[in-house]
Subunit: 528 residues, 2 copies
């Protein structure tokens, strides 16, 4: 049986609840050469104890060392990229080269380096000084380990032990207890091995990174609600997220969730007139690439104008129907897509193309386009906003801008909302009220662009109102903003100069670091 | 019956569940000349509808207008200060001059003006631009009304319709639905009248400020969990806060709570040796001023050194026993103090002085000092951390620094933690580990200073880990930081220049506003 990483050592799991294997979705078969333990509570509790000790030690660790760890880890992932991509392809069915080597691994490495830069620059600490009152504050770590639970669809960029949540929690000075995902346990183990070596090589507390593969549902709920846990980061399905949210919040633990989103796209009348084929092609790709297994995949497309909308849905239908079904991550993923499609059909949508699992050896679902009129949509907007995590979209035909906006008003919280529009006349008048409605329903508002492809830049918001996430004020992507989630506000009142964290002393220790001193930003020292 | 403020008009309450009167705690009698309605659900639902409409309108209101409202409101409170202080004294028993005119009203006015400045400067929006990707983000309003529930003990500075939560929610562009507190309904009504006039005079949406006096518990829970609510701010008792937290969080609503805190004070051996009388006097005042009805009142005092600690508790005892009992806000407050003292006695504490309601006409509780040894404290640390919201403190005698730190380790989350220490030798060695333990257990760490007296400056953290509040990353006091609670992160991806909020356009519309452009802070325009 494969080992877990507890307090700096790879150890045998003690009395695991059960074991499981990796699964190759292209070959539709279990990879039985390795078995992975489902961890029992005792083991997780030991991780919490070791993590708490590490959390306390990390309070005194210079941020340069944390940055060093993140950079070392990134470099090592880079040097083992080929091997990592190969393992991940086998476990996920996603392409080693086009997906992992060209996109996801570079992004993962970039994120870790951005996290390192953010840790060093200390800008995320927002140092603030009221000199007369001698009150000083900054952001700092939470004081307990952060539990990170990654999703199935990004074995690197969102992995609990290498992704954005991991990088932001570590960069803010917290240790991490990472859960791998059963969709890619061996990939996650490789990452954890590299992380732990990097941790040892720079000399961080040994329990800064701990790792297990899986645990039973109720044990997971116990983990996220443990009093010594600092916070929780989760990316995954809404049912799992909601259960974790309840458990963590009842225990007073901050939890950051990225749960579900249908990423509505509004194609206004003038855009349809001017460039319907171009938009159809872009949306088709956005819906079906990598089998639509992206949290920003557009699942709801509102086409404005009855005739033009129907013609547009015909164009989309043709593109979808000609597309070969890709590989899905797992059988349970396929089942969940079928369930969501079923819910939408029951609520009145009709299938234009697809609508069933693919008749292939590999696990898959046929690229699927559904359609409904705005009138019907508005009768049952909730089931018609079911997320199908695959190559599935529902087109809603809106007769006019009033219907378009009425649809927008029924939307739940989403990660993104996109508007394709013309450049003059009617659309320009309709844009402002529609955008105002969508603005507070999505974290990222797009113009003339599909929502897939999350650029990891400081201005990104990969977040949004509930139920897309648990809180509209936080992003899971983009440094330093994503670190805010894993920080506490630390205020020092009349604390003696030599006992203050260096960043808050009179002398500014970091060249160029802006501190808010008496209401003004400055990188200058305070008079001694 | 007194009217409520709904959608810009003072109206009769429709089918209130019941009515209540103000109460004069000095005279221990009801003020029957006015009766106030306990609002039924229909009324609150109308407020939510009107508030939602206002939230949408506010998205297009320039922040200068919001600032104008806050300034106008502040000026009007200033000009009516005498009358407001008089009303509040009658309803709360707190002093019109020494408390309200000299302290709380100036602070309230200052906070509103700080909020106005923050709204104008727009620094709180944290504008961030990635120019190449053309992705831009800023903080903005939540898109729904913020429900603010104020406490009994600050009729102005924390009032739902004039305090810090109100000011930060409004400054961030959200409408507010404010609940007055039954301890001071007429004071709150006067404030709401002034607020609504200010709102009308500057031309904000009429439902920007709405106000009611009281509602039944289950109706309040329904209010905070309504899908259209943006967020909730609450200051008050832990039981009420916990019920609201559960309801709001189950509905996916951000809720900010300031619930309870015993504000531990550690007096280390050298400090006792050097200046025990000075410290005893400061702590005595901090515990008993205004009958100890402050959320930052020190309720737990750890004195280090058996002999010196006992002598110190004798000094405190003498000061407490010579102090006349002040007026408490309400009978239920007196009952809650008695219950908390009872819990601590049951857990092994002994009464040195006080320990019962005051034998006065007015409602009060005798200044009360309890004592216990560290050994006994460590056996039952949870009940011995009960908050008594009155002139009550528990002294714990620690034999040595190990015991002192062991006590620190058992503490729950607090607003503050204070360390009084010597300036050399033993204490300096003991300080670092003790401070490290306390750092992640309190929002504000103090040296040689009592925790009462919350300076409203940008560096203040009036917050702390659960259960002092619901989240360790937010402060309820200090601008612009407190506004973060009532904001969402709004990202614009490829949005056309003329459709962007002015703050994110190429031309920086606010002189001196720093924007994070491609990783660097600058107040310059972007090239067009």
């Amino acid at each position: 049986m494969q080992k877990i990483l507890l307090d700096g050592s790879w150890r045998d799991a003690v009395s695991p609840s059960s074991t499981f294997h990796s699964f190759d979705p292209r070959e539709n078969k279990s990879l039985t050469e390795r078995s992975f333990p489902v961890s029992a509570w005792d083991e997780l509790e030991q991780m919490i104890q070791a993590g708490s000790q590490a959390a306390e030690e990390l309070l005194d660790v210079p941020s340069a060392l944390i940055a060093d760890f993140l950079d070392t880890y990134a470099a090592q992932i880079e040097s083992e990229a080929q091997q990592l991509a190969k393992i991940a392809q086998e476990e996920t069915g996603l392409e080693a080269t086009s997906r992992f080597l060209e996109k996801e691994l570079p992004r993962t490495i970039f994120q870790l380096r951005e996290a390192a830069k953010s840790a060093s620059s200390a800008r995320w600490t927002e140092p603030t000084i009221a000199s007369q009152a001698n009150i000083r504050s900054m952001r700092g770590p939470l004081g307990g380990p952060v539990v990170v639970l990654g999703p199935n669809n990004f074995p690197f960029a969102y992995n609990g032990v290498s992704g954005g949540d991991f990088a932001s929690a570590i960069a803010a000075g917290n240790p991490v207890i990472a859960k791998g995902h059963p969709s890619h346990p061996y990939t996650s183990q490789r990452l954890a091995i590299i992380a732990q070596k990097a941790c040892d090589s720079v000399g961080l507390p040994r329990a800064t990174v701990q790792f297990f593969y899986e645990t039973k549902r109720e044990t997971g709920l116990k983990l996220v609600s443990h009093p010594q846990v600092g916070a929780v980061g989760f990316t995954g399905s809404r049912p799992a997220g909601m259960a974790l949210k309840k458990a963590a919040e009842e225990a007073g633990k901050p939890i950051y969730l990225e749960m579900s989103s249908v990423n509505p796209v509004f194609v206004l009348s003038e855009a349809l007139k001017a460039r319907s084929s171009e938009i159809a092609e872009a949306l088709h790709l956005s819906c079906t690439s990598e089998s639509g297994q992206f949290c920003t995949k557009p699942g709801l497309i509102v086409a404005e104008g009855t005739e033009a909308g129907l013609a547009f849905s015909d164009e989309l239908e043709e593109l979808f129907s000609k597309t070969a079904p890709g590989v899905l991550l797992s059988q349970s993923g396929q089942d969940a897509i079928a369930a969501a499609v079923g819910t939408m059909l029951e609520a009145g949508a009709t299938v234009l193309t697809g609508g069933r699992p693919s008749p292939t050896k590999h696990i898959g679902y046929l690229p699927t386009l559904l359609r409904i009129s705005a009138t019907e949509f508005l009768k049952r907007p909730t089931p018609l906003q079911s997320e199908a995590f695959g190559p599935v979209a529902l087109v809603v035909i809106a007769a006019n801008p009033d219907e378009t906006r009425a649809i927008a008003r029924t939307l739940q919280g989403n990660l993104t909302a996109s508007i394709f529009s013309g450049s003059s006349g009617e659309n320009e008048k309709a844009y402002a009220p529609l955008a105002r409605t969508l603005r507070v329903k999505a974290g990222r508002l797009l113009n003339d662009k599909v929502p897939t492809g999350v650029t990891p830049c400081p201005a990104m918001n990969h977040g949004g109102p509930y139920p897309a996430t648990g809180h509209p004020g936080f992003t899971a992507v983009g440094f330093p903003a994503s670190m805010l989630r894993f920080s506490a506000l630390h205020c020092y009142d009349n604390v003696r100069e030599d006992r203050l964290p260096p960043i808050l002393r009179n002398r500014n220790p970091i060249s160029g670091l802006l501190r808010l001193v008496d209401g003004e930003y400055t990188d200058q020292d305070l008079p001694a």
